[in-house]
């Protein structure tokens, strides 16, 4: 029994977020956060098995064209074809293999295939804008898509979101789960976008911006961008929780 008790108590907790690298809640400049953020302080939770485990098996079937958003319809979508590659790593620099990466985005005109997006930009019959794949044993992923357009929203006067691709990633633990947005280098709308600006730390903010990559770029075919994603990982050494 004593042995069992000891065995049970040993887990490796995950690293906590560093100051300034996560968005605050609420964040006044993004108005919808005001009624949708907890008003009371969060309760600090020492990690248990429940936090450091998570869904890593079986996310259903992934079809062959799920990572090529330009081949999901009869014809080719309009816009600038791009290749987005990257690796999913944990904060210890270890690749996260078999991680499910899901993306969704607007088309080249900035319009989402969603009933709530009714702004006057054309839908593209050859573009849905959703993809998914699993990382390989090195944590690498690759999508072919088109560059999304900027789009307007109602948060403030003349509000436009910088071009972005939404990313959803499952890491090894339920608490390493990440939903983020990938932006493109040098976007002039960064300065006006409260979603992008919600990350206080400048360096952390830039980790959401992909890099142009000539190696990935293919002649006569598509520009390439690299977007590496870093998820929470375990503390270096296991320790016994009191």
């Amino acid at each position: 029994m004593r042995h069992l008790a000891n065995e049970r108590s040993i887990i490796t907790p995950y690293r906590r977020h560093e100051e300034g690298c996560q968005p605050p809640a609420p964040y006044q400049a993004y108005e919808s956060t005001i009624k949708r953020s907890p008003s009371k302080p969060l309760t600090f939770l020492p990690h248990t098995l429940s936090e450091i485990t998570g869904p890593i098996y079986g996310h259903g079937q992934i079809a062959e064209t799920d990572n090529d958003l330009t081949r999901q319809h009869a014809g080719e979508p309009n816009g600038e074809r791009i290749i987005v590659i990257g690796r999913v790593l944990d904060c210890n620099g270890r690749p996260v293999p078999e991680a499910l990466v899901e993306i969704w985005q607007a088309n080249a005109a900035g319009r989402y295939r969603h009933q709530d997006d009714q702004h006057p930009a054309p839908l593209d019959p050859n573009f849905t804008g959703a993809g998914r794949m699993r990382t390989d044993e090195n944590g690498a992923y690759r999508f072919v898509t088109i560059k999304p357009g900027a789009y307007p929203w109602f948060n403030h006067y003349n509000a436009w979101r910088p071009a972005h691709i939404h990313f959803s990633i499952f890491g090894r633990a339920f608490i390493s789960r990440l939903v983020t947005q990938m932006y493109f280098p040098g976007d002039l709308l960064f300065a006006y976008d409260p979603v992008y600006q919600s990350i206080p730390d400048e360096k952390a903010r830039q980790r959401m911006v992909c890099k142009f990559d000539l190696e990935t770029t293919q002649p006569q075919w598509a520009l390439g961008y690299r977007f590496d994603i870093v998820l929470r990982g375990p503390e270096a050494t296991p320790f016994e929780t009191p």
């Binding site: 996560q22 904060c91 997006d117 870093v230």
Partner: protein, 191 residues
Amino acid sequence: MSLGLTPSQTVGPFFSFGLTTEKCSVRCIAGPEAKGERVLLTCRVLDGDGVGIPDAMLEIWQADAEGKYNHPDDPQEKTCDPEWRGFGRMGTREDGSCEFETIRPGRVPGPGSVLQAPHLNMAVFARGMLKQFYTRIYFSGDPANQEDPVLALVPDERRETLMAHPDPAKPGHWHFEVRMQGEHETVFFDV
């Protein structure tokens, strides 16, 4: 080596065609073959005005009926129910609600030799949330709640916000409310 983490950003208003299509949703956390007491769980997410949030996504992670997670970092010497996945994901409807089909999980180890009470782990995503919020769902009336080490961290008067309640009219049906704000604001955890 320690790399800087990629920051979180909101799922925004348009995630449903990417994350909660029929193909990508997971309503059934535990199939009919899974061992354990069947639970049909209705969850509802409410904003600071008590209005249902129609563009939220709920994800659930839980252990099987024996308290074993389907994960290599669970060191318990038990084998997982072969039918077990333990993950669910649903988008909310117009009134902020959605359902999951599952079983009441077993007790999983907590700190030291303490066992945790049966619970589901939940992450809440929505437009207007720049990051996901974590909470837990316990089963009201479960005697193990008295000795749960996580509930013990929560002040008495707020523990009730972490309880799912059985539907008196429909056996096996349970309800859980996620209140983002207000008098009965749900307890969210800093994980």
